[in-house]
C-alpha cells in the first residue's frame, strides 16, 4: 500500500471514528433527555388533567344553574310539571332538546323527585321513564367530577355529568347535564400535545394503541346507567405515544446519518486532498532522486518550504551538489585513468603499427647491406606493407585526435547543423527531421556539436538492419527545472534497441557491438556533451529502438533559422 493510500485511510479513520462516536453519544444523550422530558411532562399533565376536569365540571354546573333559574321562572314548565297542563306537555317534552342546543350541552334531563324523566335533550323520547340512578350517583359524588354512560336512541353517550337541584312550588326537581367525554373532550383536557388522554371504563381497556406508554392515570367516579347502574370508577389514562418519540428519534437519526454521510464525504475529500498535498512533494523528490545519476546531477532540489520536506529537499540538493563535485573529481580521475589507458593503448597501437615498419626497415637495411642491387626490388615488394602500416597509424592518429577536442563555445544554429549532418548521410536509410521553428541557438563548439551529431546519427543509422526502419531527428526548445532554456536534440531510431546491460556499458570506452566499431562513439559523445555543459540521456529497450536526447544550454541571443 502506498504512502498516499495509507495517509488517506489514516485521515479517514482519524476523522470518521471520533465523529461517529460523537454522533452516537449525542444521539443517546438526546434520546435520554427526550424520554426524561416526556416523563416529566406526563407527570405534570396528570395534575393539570384533574384541574381541567374540575373546571369543565364547573362550566357544566354553571350552565345547569342558569337553566334551572330559567325553569323556575317558566310558566309553561310550571303548568306542565306541576299542574299537568296538557297543552304545555309538548313544550315540556321539547324543552330539554332546545335548552341543550342553546347551552352547548350533550346531555340534559329533567327528573322529578321520583326519578321520572320529564324532558330529555339527548334522548327526547325517553320521557316518563324512571331513571333515578344518575341523580343519586351525582348526589353521592358531590362536586367531584364524574363520568356516566347513558342511553340515547342510537349510540351510548359517555359524558362528564353533574346535577343541579331546584324546586318549583315546593316540589323538587333535578336537572342533570353533561358534555360528551369523547375524543375531542379528551384532547381538550390534554394540556400537552405530546401526550394523549384516554378513558378507561371498567369494561374497556381504554388505552389506545400498542405504541402508547402509560404515564399516569386519574381515577374518576363512573356510572354505567345503561347496564349495571352500580357506581364504579373509570380512569383517565395519560399516555405518551411512543410513536411521537419514535418519530422524533427517527428524524434525529436521519439527520445524524445525513450529517455523518456528509461529514464522511468531506472527510474522504479532505483525506484525499491532504494525502495528495503531503505526498506530492515526496513524489516529486522521489522522481528527482530517481533521475540522478553520474551523468545527470543537475536536479534542482531548491525548496521554499521550512518543514521536514523542505529540509529533506535541501539535504538532497546538498547531497546532489556533493555528488556533482565528486562526479567531476571522479570524471577527472577517470579521465586521467582513461588517458593512461589511452596512452598505453596508443603505445600499444603505435607499437603495433611500427612493428611492420621496423621489420621492413630492418629488412631493407639487411638488403642494402647484403644485396644492394636488389634493394629497389625489395623496397618495391615491401612498399605496400609500409604504406599499410603508415595508413594504419594515420587512421589511428585521426581516431585518437577525436578524443579530446578543445571546446570553444559559440552560438550554434542547431537546426542548420542537424540538416547538414543529415545531408551527409543521405542515400542510406530513411532519416527524417522535425526541426522546431524559432529554436534558440545553442551555446556549443560547432566542431564538438558536429561530432556529437555525427556519432549519434551514425549509431542510429548503423542500428537499422539492412536499411529497414527510419531515424527521426527532432529539435525543440525546453526549460530545464523551470529556469534556464535549453535546446533539445532527440535522435530516435527504430532499431533493435539495447538491453539494460548493454546500456550500462554503452558509455565505456572501446565497448562496441558493431563489427569494426572503435567503441569510442558514445564515450566521446558523453564527454563532448558534458564539456559543452549539456546532458545526454539514452532511453532504450530491446525491440523498441533507441532514443538519444541531448540537451545543450541555449545561447543568449536569437533563434536558429
Amino acid at each position: 500500500m502506498s504512502f498516499r493510500a495509507r495517509l488517506f485511510f489514516a485521515t479517514c479513520i482519524a476523522v470518521l471514528v471520533p465523529l461517529t462516536i460523537l454522533a452516537l453519544g449525542v444521539r443517546r444523550e438526546i434520546n435520554r433527555r427526550l424520554t426524561e422530558e416526556s416523563r416529566r411532562r406526563g407527570e405534570a399533565a396528570i395534575g393539570a388533567l384533574g384541574t381541567e376536569l374540575a373546571r369543565e365540571r364547573e362550566r357544566v354546573a354553571a350552565r345547569l344553574g342558569a337553566l334551572s333559574r330559567d325553569l323556575m321562572a317558566d310558566n309553561r314548565f310550571r303548568l306542565a310539571a306541576i299542574r299537568g297542563d296538557a297543552p304545555s306537555r309538548a313544550y315540556l317534552l321539547d324543552w330539554a332538546s332546545g335548552a341543550m342546543r342553546i347551552s352547548g350541552l350533550a346531555l340534559l334531563q329533567i327528573q322529578d323527585s321520583a326519578g321520572r324523566i320529564l324532558s330529555s335533550g339527548h334522548f327526547r323520547n325517553e320521557y316518563d321513564r324512571v331513571r333515578p340512578e344518575l341523580p343519586a350517583f351525582l348526589e353521592r359524588t358531590g362536586d367531584t367530577p364524574a363520568l356516566a354512560r347513558v342511553r340515547t336512541a342510537d349510540l351510548p353517550l359517555l359524558a362528564l355529568v353533574t346535577a343541579e337541584r331546584f324546586a318549583v312550588a315546593g316540589r323538587p326537581f333535578v336537572l342533570v347535564g353533561g358534555i360528551a367525554a369523547e375524543d375531542r373532550f379528551l384532547r381538550r383536557l390534554d394540556p400537552d400535545p405530546e401526550l394523549a388522554v384516554a378513558l378507561a371504563t371498567p369494561d374497556s381497556a381504554g388505552v389506545p394503541g400498542v405504541q402508547a406508554e402509560t404515564v399516569g392515570a386519574l381515577a374518576v367516579p363512573f356510572l354505567d346507567a345503561m347496564t349495571t347502574a352500580i357506581p364504579d370508577s373509570a380512569r383517565l389514562v395519560v399516555t405518551r405515544t411512543s410513536a411521537t418519540l419514535a418519530a422524533l428519534l427517527r428524524g434525529l437519526n436521519a439527520w445524524f446519518l445525513v450529517s455523518l454521510a456528509v461529514t464522511a464525504l468531506l472527510a474522504v475529500a479532505l483525506a484525499a486532498w491532504l494525502s495528495r498535498r503531503i505526498s506530492r512533494p515526496l513524489t516529486e523528490l522521489a522522481e528527482k532522486t530517481a533521475a540522478i545519476d553520474l551523468d545527470r546531477l543537475d536536479q534542482d532540489f531548491t525548496a521554499e518550504r521550512d518543514d521536514e520536506i523542505g529540509s529533506l529537499s535541501r539535504l538532497l540538493g546538498e547531497m546532489t551538489a556533493r555528488l556533482r563535485s565528486g562526479a567531476l573529481r571522479l570524471r577527472e580521475a577517470e579521465r586521467r585513468i582513461a588517458m593512461g589507458d589511452l596512452a598505453r593503448q596508443v603505445n600499444h597501437d603505435i607499437k603495433n603499427g611500427l612493428v611492420p615498419i621496423r621489420n621492413v626497415l630492418r629488412h631493407l637495411e639487411e638488403v642494402a647491406r647484403d644485396r644492394p642491387e636488389t634493394l629497389g626490388a625489395v623496397f618495391e615488394e615491401r612498399r605496400l606493407t609500409l604504406a599499410s602500416s603508415v595508413g594504419y597509424l594515420d587512421t589511428l592518429a585521426r581516431n585518437y585526435a577525436r578524443l579530446s577536442p578543445a571546446a570553444a563555445p559559440e552560438a550554434c544554429d542547431v537546426n542548420a547543423m542537424v540538416a547538414e549532418v543529415v545531408r551527409a548521410v543521405a542515400g542510406g536509410p530513411l532519416v527524417r527531421t522535425r526541426l522546431a521553428d524559432g529554436l534558440p541557438r545553442a551555446a556549443a563548439d560547432p566542431l564538438m556539436l558536429r561530432r556529437v551529431l555525427e556519432n549519434l546519427l551514425g549509431n542510429a543509422v548503423d542500428s537499422l538492419a539492412a536499411g529497414a526502419g527510419e531515424v527521426v531527428v527532432s529539435t525543440e526548445s525546453a526549460a530545464r527545472d523551470g529556469r534556464a532554456s535549453v535546446v533539445r536534440i532527440v535522435i530516435q531510431d527504430s532499431g533493435p534497441g539495447m538491453t539494460r546491460a548493454e546500456l550500462d556499458r554503452a558509455f565505456d570506452d572501446f565497448y562496441t557491438t558493431k563489427a569494426g566499431g572503435t567503441g569510442l562513439g558514445l564515450s566521446i559523445v558523453r564527454r563532448l556533451v558534458l564539456d559543452l555543459g549539456g546532458a545526454l540521456r539514452i532511453d532504450t529497450e530491446p525491440g523498441s529502438g533507441t532514443r538519444a536526447t541531448v540537451e545543450l544550454p541555449a545561447a543568449p541571443g536569437g533563434a536558429s533559422r
Binding site: R89, A90, R124, N125, Y127, D154
Partner: protein, 407 residues
C-alpha cells in the same frame, strides 16, 4: 253504483224525510221547510270561488309534492275523493253484474284517442299494470267495443274496486283541465317553510303542526286538515319471538294515543281500526311476487326506519326508550333501502309507514317478512295551507290537489 244514481238516492231520501216531517205536524199552516244543511265537503279547500282562473304558486318541499300538480297527470279509470268516494275520471260511468264480480266501464269521450281495446292491450302487456291486475285479483279484461271495458274480478265487491284508481293503471289522455288555473311549482329557498309562505306561496302541504300553527295565525291563509293518510307500524320479524318485550307498554288505544300526542311532531292520532292487513288472507300471486333482495346491512339490534321520515324516527326512538334492553338502538337507512331491509328481516324491528287505506293491499305487504308481528302505532295526516282567494281546490284520495271546475 254510478254517481248519478247516488245523487238521485240522496234527493229521494231528502224529499221523503221532508214529507214525513210535514205529516207529523199536520193541520197547521205549512211552515217553511227547513233545508237540510249540506255537510261541508271535507275534500274542498275553502279558498275562493270555483273556476276563477288564476296562477297558483305551489310550494313543493318534497319530491312527491310536485307530482300532485303536474299539468298533465296520467288519468285512471276512476278517481277517489279524499273520503275514498269513487268519482268519474277516464271512465264516465260503470256498472256491475249482480254478483259484483264483473265490472263494465264506459270510457269518457275526452279520453280519445284512447279506446277500450287499447286500454285492455296496454294493461295485459305492460308489466307494471299486469302485476297490479294480478295482485288485485283481476281474472280478465275484455274490450266490448271502442268505449266499453269489461273487467272480471276473482272476488265480488259491493262497490267499484278502488284498484282502478291505481297509478299503474292510468294512461295519459289528450284532455286538459278546463278551469284555466295554472299551477306554478316553486322550490322552497330555505328549510323553514314559513319563509315560503311569507314569500308568496299560495298552497303547500305539510305534516308539521308548527307550520300549520303559524299559518293559522295568518288571516290570509286557510289551514285545511287532509284525510288521515298514513299509518305507522312497528313490524317485528316473526322469528324473533324474544322481541315481544320490545315495547314494554301495552298496545292499547291509550298507548297509541299517547304515542301520537307525545312522541311525534306531526298531526297524529293513535292508529284506529279497521286495520286493512287483518284478515287479508292469501294475496293472489303472492308466491310469485318478486321481492327485492339487495343486501342491506343493518344492525341486528336496531329498530330500523327511513332516515328521511322524522315521524318514523321519533317512533323508533320511543320504541327504543321503552325497551329495557340497552343493546337495542335505532338505525336509520335511506328510504329506498327500507323495503329491501324489511324483506331481509335482519333487524330487530322496523318502523314503516303504510297508506291508511291502500288501493292495493297485497302490494303493500309484498316486502314484509313472513309472519311478522304487526304493532299499529299512529295515524298521521297532512294539512293543506292555502291562500284565501285562490280558485277553489279539492283534494283527491291520493292527496292530489285539483281545481274545482265551475258548475
Amino acid at each position: 253504483m254510478a254517481p248519478g244514481t247516488i245523487r238521485l238516492v240522496r234527493l229521494l231520501c231528502a224529499a221523503g224525510c221532508a214529507a214525513s216531517l210535514a205529516g207529523a205536524c199536520g193541520g197547521s199552516a205549512p211552515e217553511p221547510i227547513p233545508q237540510p244543511e249540506t255537510p261541508p265537503d271535507p275534500c274542498l279547500l275553502p279558498t275562493g270561488e270555483p273556476g276563477s282562473a288564476r296562477e297558483v304558486v305551489v310550494v313543493a318541499a318534497r319530491p312527491q309534492d310536485s307530482a300532485f300538480i303536474a299539468p298533465r297527470q296520467p288519468e285512471p279509470l276512476i278517481r277517489l275523493s279524499c273520503t275514498a268516494a269513487a268519482q268519474p275520471a277516464a271512465a264516465q260511468s260503470w256498472t256491475s253484474d249482480s254478483a259484483g264480480r264483473t265490472w263494465t266501464f264506459v270510457l269518457a269521450p275526452s279520453t280519445a284517442p284512447i279506446s277500450a281495446p287499447s286500454v285492455a292491450a296496454e294493461w295485459t302487456t305492460r308489466p307494471e299494470a299486469a302485476t297490479t291486475l294480478r295482485q288485485a285479483g283481476v281474472e280478465s279484461v275484455i274490450a266490448l267495443d271502442e268505449e266499453r271495458l269489461r273487467v272480471t274480478m276473482s272476488s265480488p265487491s259491493d262497490s267499484v274496486p278502488p284498484v282502478f284508481a291505481e297509478r299503474t293503471l292510468s294512461f295519459v289522455t289528450d284532455s286538459l283541465p278546463q278551469t284555466g288555473t295554472t299551477f306554478v311549482l316553486r322550490r322552497p329557498e330555505s328549510a323553514d317553510l314559513r319563509d315560503a309562505l311569507d314569500a308568496g306561496a299560495d298552497i303547500l302541504r305539510t305534516e308539521d303542526p308548527a307550520l300549520a300553527e303559524y299559518a293559522r295565525h295568518r288571516d290570509e291563509f286557510v289551514v285545511h286538515p287532509l284525510p288521515w293518510s298514513r299509518t305507522y307500524l312497528l313490524i317485528i320479524p316473526g322469528a324473533r319471538v324474544e322481541l315481544d318485550g320490545l315495547i314494554q307498554g301495552d298496545d292499547s288505544a291509550g298507548f297509541r294515543a299517547a304515542l301520537a300526542r307525545d312522541a311525534v311532531h306531526a298531526e297524529a292520532r293513535g292508529a284506529e281500526r279497521p286495520y286493512w292487513w287483518d284478515g287479508l288472507g292469501q294475496c293472489p300471486g303472492s308466491d310469485s311476487l318478486s321481492r327485492p333482495r339487495p343486501r342491506v346491512l343493518v344492525d341486528s339490534n336496531a329498530v330500523v326506519f327511513a332516515a328521511e321520515d322524522a315521524v318514523a324516527r321519533a317512533l323508533a326512538e320511543r320504541v327504543v326508550a321503552l325497551s329495557d334492553n340497552p343493546r337495542i338502538s335505532t338505525g336509520s337507512i335511506p328510504q329506498r333501502f327500507l323495503d329491501p331491509a324489511l324483506s331481509a328481516a335482519s333487524a330487530r324491528a322496523y318502523v314503516v309507514a303504510v297508506p291508511r287505506t291502500p288501493l292495493l293491499p297485497c302490494r303493500e305487504i309484498a316486502t314484509w317478512p313472513p309472519d311478522p308481528r304487526i304493532v299499529p302505532l299512529i295515524d298521521v295526516r297532512e294539512s293543506a295551507i292555502a291562500r284565501r282567494g285562490i280558485p277553489r281546490l279539492t283534494v283527491d284520495f291520493d292527496g292530489r290537489i285539483r281545481p274545482v271546475e265551475a258548475p
